[in-house]
Symmetry: C3
Subunit: 108 residues, 3 copies
Amino acid sequence: MDMLAVFTTVSSNDEAEVLARAAVERRLAACVQVEAIQSTYRWQGAIASEPEVRLMFKTSRALYPALEATLKSLHPYAVPAIFALPVVEASAEYEAWMEDAIGTGPAE
Amino acid sequence: MDMLAVFTTVSSNDEAEVLARAAVERRLAACVQVEAIQSTYRWQGAIASEPEVRLMFKTSRALYPALEATLKSLHPYAVPAIFALPVVEASAEYEAWMEDAIGTGPAE
Amino acid sequence: MDMLAVFTTVSSNDEAEVLARAAVERRLAACVQVEAIQSTYRWQGAIASEPEVRLMFKTSRALYPALEATLKSLHPYAVPAIFALPVVEASAEYEAWMEDAIGTGPAE
């Protein structure tokens, strides 16, 4: 399986739970890991710094388009950060678990 | 050096410390970073959400098999998540520090 | 845009804020995410474990050399960890937002 770690951020744990549950329920991600972060970025010409929550979705390259579309449809932000890093090694047992969890495509 | 960021998760800081110390002591990782996360996944047909602890090991591609084997042998889970992301840029000084810390193979 | 997630660690949120603001102000990163971690590593022959703060900078491959140089010039450590992971997928809207934030080079 060509695996990816997909990331997005939201502003609260409640918002994060909505995205995490949807992705796992629809078998678009095998698991989702959520953590507290502080984000610094440029907003309307000034430097802003806000607490946020980051999500890491473990999925396959084949499912990335469907996961991205689902995140966009459910996301509270107008332009959410959605990006993916490539997995280049994984234990065989974990890979088998991932395949069992998300197979090769979204639930019908 | 062909560097990797290797990830696994456990359920407590004590469990994390066992894996982190073993990897550094055996020179299978130059450093290990541990953080609190909340994990959502499918378990026996239902969606589960549990606090976990994620570890990021900085190592070389050459050492990945030995690190994976060590993590499996010490890990409290039956099927732990063990996967790696590729490092494509690093400062020369940091790379030298990594080589000094883990050389090219595990301690004899 | 050839995107990267660049990481470094410092020992406090105040130190993190200096690096995060400088990178965004100089348009060397579109955003910076900061989180609390615990680091384990070898120090003067012994295994050390210290609380740290990790930063993830979202930038372009073209800007990596300038970001690395800036982080080195401002970093409180003698040999900081500075490394980058490759982004292989991103939403078109997020990529456009990144290009708007950091264009193709540092602010003149």
